[in-house]
């Protein structure tokens, strides 16, 4: 009895099966299709139901309101804005305010977090206790409470504008915030800016060249005198040739407040302070864990090479620790951004305050506005997370892992 080899199924069918069904084959596909259909149906029901209900109750719907006049003012605007601008512009104003407080908060939180972590790991008894106390106190108190504390503490400590603290007669601190002179561009401004940009770009490429020379040929090039010349000398010469690039508008006390100058509002200071110190406590623990995850032999190896403790940390330990640090660090960045929505409690005009707050109750279009707000937070979070993933990937790659 001769046995014939069974014919293998057609390649194309196998391929489709693998692509569509995953490991479970055709059964899997059917289940997944049904599941997707149910999800789609639920989504459709929710949307159509909401639409019908809004229509029944004569509640305004749609995004037409974005073009209407907002009719209210905002305290801190990074782009020009008045009450006669549209709701769309309010949205952008709020978004920028959220972004600026998040970015500044993230920078400070990272710096403070690293410092506190290094303190906690320090062999110095006092420093490490201070680091420990900082972490234990800050991370165990609710962040809203801390925001209110900083706000009311900052406000209570500062005098009113008429008795403001003068810093050399050019900057003033009061409970209306910090007022500083504002630079105003003059005729030589463009040339100055162009030279400055050129200086920065040239210095960066010089540094890149020097590092390559160091890594590939072991050649040490001293570049700092050239960089100094490019960054400071060149702009100075331009200033001498084409005159002052800008003058300063000094703030002056007029009536209730200061007129002229730029101002940092106390709400911004309090919010940034609270968010960065709070998040720093968590970052400190993440960094500490990261550094401890590097074998202590690395530290000893650095010491035996004659490197100082600081250099060993900077050149050997921290780069290896970054691999462990980056993913949870991303979480903290996302948390900080989302926590910035607590700004409404102290009157900082962030996205939730001016958009999901004021604009929502002026227009009454809750669904559209909340959907847009959620979309924006999602987008910011996904972008942050993408940037951090790229950074994490680069760190891993540079370690050859």
């Amino acid at each position: 009895m001769s046995t014939e080899a069974r014919k293998p199924p057609a390649q194309i069918a196998l391929k489709i099966r693998r692509v569509l069904g995953g490991k479970t084959g055709w059964n899997g596909i059917a289940v997944q299709l049904v599941f997707a259909a149910i999800l789609g149906w639920i989504g459709y029901e929710i949307v159509s139901n909401a639409r019908a209900n809004l229509e029944n109750q004569h509640i305004a719907a749609g995004f037409g309101f974005l073009r209407n006049n907002a009719g209210f003012d905002v305290n801190q605007t990074l782009i020009s804005y008045t009450g006669s601008d549209t709701f769309l512009r309010v949205f952008v104003v709020g978004l920028l305010n959220t972004l600026v407080v998040s970015v500044v908060g993230i920078v400070f939180a990272t710096v403070i977090g690293f410092i506190v972590a290094l303190c906690r790991l320090s062999p110095n008894w006092l420093l490490s206790r201070i680091g420990e106390i900082y972490v234990e106190i800050i991370r165990n108190l609710p962040v809203l409470f801390q925001i209110l504390f900083w706000y009311l503490a900052v406000l209570a400590a500062l005098p009113n504008p008429r008795q403001s603290i003068s810093l050399f007669g050019i900057a003033f601190v009061s409970n209306r915030g910090l007022v500083i002179p504002r630079p105003i561009g003059e005729s030589g401004f463009e040339a100055f800016l162009a030279v400055l940009v050129f200086g920065i770009v040239a210095s960066l490429s010089l540094r890149f060249y020097a590092r390559r020379a160091l890594f590939q040929r072991g050649q040490v090039i001293r570049i700092w005198p050239y960089m100094l010349g490019l960054l400071f000398g060149l702009p100075l010469v331009t200033m001498l040739v084409s005159g002052l690039p800008f003058t300063f508008e000094l703030p002056q006390l007029k009536g209730f407040n200061f007129a002229g100058g730029s101002r940092v509002i106390p709400e911004f200071v309090a919010l940034t302070l609270a968010l960065s110190t709070y998040t720093a406590a968590f970052i400190a623990e993440i960094v500490r864990a990261g550094i401890l995850s590097v074998h202590k032999g690395q530290m000893e190896a650095g010491a035996s090479l004659g490197l100082s403790r600081g250099s060993t940390l900077r050149l050997i330990v921290v780069p290896q620790a970054m691999r462990v640090i980056v993913p949870p660090l991303t979480n903290q960045y996302l948390n900080l951004t989302k926590n910035s929505s607590l700004a409404v409690a102290i009157g900082y005009p962030d996205l939730v305050s001016v958009w999901a707050g004021t604009s929502l109750s002026q227009t009454g279009q809750a669904i559209e506005i909340i959907a847009m707000t959620m979309g924006v937070y999602l987008l910011i979070s996904l972008l942050t997370s993408a940037i951090m993933s790229v950074y994490g990937w680069r760190v891993s790659r540079s370690l050859g892992a």
Binding site: I46, N53, F256, I346, G347
Partner: protein
């Protein structure tokens, strides 16, 4: 607060089916056994809880009057504190049956929120409060001032209009709740606190030294405050509307919580109609014949409600002014019950 808005929005988006299809608010309330009434988070004189947790105030008495008309028991009310920016969503989503929370009647709110105003319980106007030490006597001297305001109010827009119209600069700091706004004003973050004038008097009581602050004479807007109900249930709209009219009518006829029993025995045709011994207007509303008697026994007439909560009998001591009856120089006027 954000979470509340979010939850309410989701409720609005998804769970609304039952509420929207169901226009029988009165029946729902009777089945539930309580009236769900949206009030403020604490504005003395209008709606605020005392130290035992009992709500009092002019807006609260409106809720009590409605509950009395339905259940003959003014205590059958569940008070839902709402912030300025959450209040409409709470009404739209069906969490509350009526919003009685010093809310200004405007065309945009009446037309785009899916809700109706049922009348005016208090004629108000926006004013400014400053520290006496600033030595300001008029709102026109407020150029370049910092102004604290509660977010999500008509106040915010009136403020922008007023300063623009008078060519003055200002800085606005908007807070989520009334208490946060007052706290920031007291901490010196701003020179001026602005809200409806009644609210200024009411909030001044919360300050450490009320005597150090003064309300400026200017009134920069019309703020007719009144309750709101959802669209789609005309019977319920009528009940709330006529409860307000009953309060005013009884004051006009001199019926008070004390003399209502005597008055209902009198042979005056108008009194008989209003107090239900003649005719069946209450039943046409879906209530009982003696609905006005129930209301007056629970809260007293409009004059009593006003005096007890915000007028001469209260710490606020606000004069009747525009809120006096139409035949005494005010604006309170009710269509006849006949």
């Amino acid at each position: 607060m954000k979470r509340v808005t979010l939850a309410l929005t989701l409720a609005l988006a998804a769970g609304l089916t039952a509420q929207a299809a169901d226009a029988q608010t009165l029946k729902t309330i009777k089945d539930r056994g309580t009236l769900s009434c949206g009030v403020s988070q604490g504005l003395p004189g209008f709606s605020s809880p005392d130290d035992k947790g009992n709500w009092t105030g002019l807006d609260v008495d409106v809720c009590r009057a409605i509950a009395a008309a339905i259940f003959n028991d003014p205590t059958k009310v569940k008070y839902v504190p709402t912030s300025a920016k959450d209040r409409f969503t709470a009404l739209q989503s069906g969490e509350i049956d009526v919003l009685s929370r010093n809310t200004t009647w405007t065309i945009s709110r009446d037309t785009s929120l899916g809700a109706n105003f049922t009348g005016v319980t208090y004629y108000d106007g926006q004013g400014f409060m400053v520290k006496k030490s600033l030595k300001v006597n008029s709102a026109l001297e407020l150029n370049s001032a910092s102004v604290c305001v509660q977010t999500g109010t008509t106040t915010e827009q009136n403020l922008a209009d007023y300063f623009k119209a008078n060519n003055m600069k200002y800085e606005v700091i908007a807070f989520g709740t009334n208490d946060e706004t007052v706290k920031a004003y007291e901490a010196g973050r701003c020179d001026v606190f602005t809200t409806d004038q009644s609210g200024l008097y009411s909030n001044r009581l919360k300050l450490a030294n009320p005597g150090d602050h003064m309300v400026l004479p200017e009134i920069i807007s019309k703020e007719p405050l009144g309750p709101m109900v959802r669209h789609g249930d005309d019977q319920w709209f009528d009940i709330v509307k006529w409860t307000l009219f009953a309060l005013v009518t009884t004051e006009e006829l001199g019926i008070t919580s004390k003399n209502v029993d005597e008055k209902s025995k009198m042979e005056n045709p108008e009194l008989k109609r209003v107090l239900g011994t003649d005719g069946n207007f209450g039943e046409q509303l879906g209530l009982t014949k003696d609905w006005v008697v129930r209301i007056v026994k629970a809260t007293g007439n409009y004059g009593e409600v006003f005096d007890r909560n915000v007028g001469s009998g209260s710490p606020l001591g606000i004069a009747r002014g525009l809120n006096n009856l139409w035949n005494k120089g005010g604006l309170q006027y009710a269509p006849p019950i006949r």
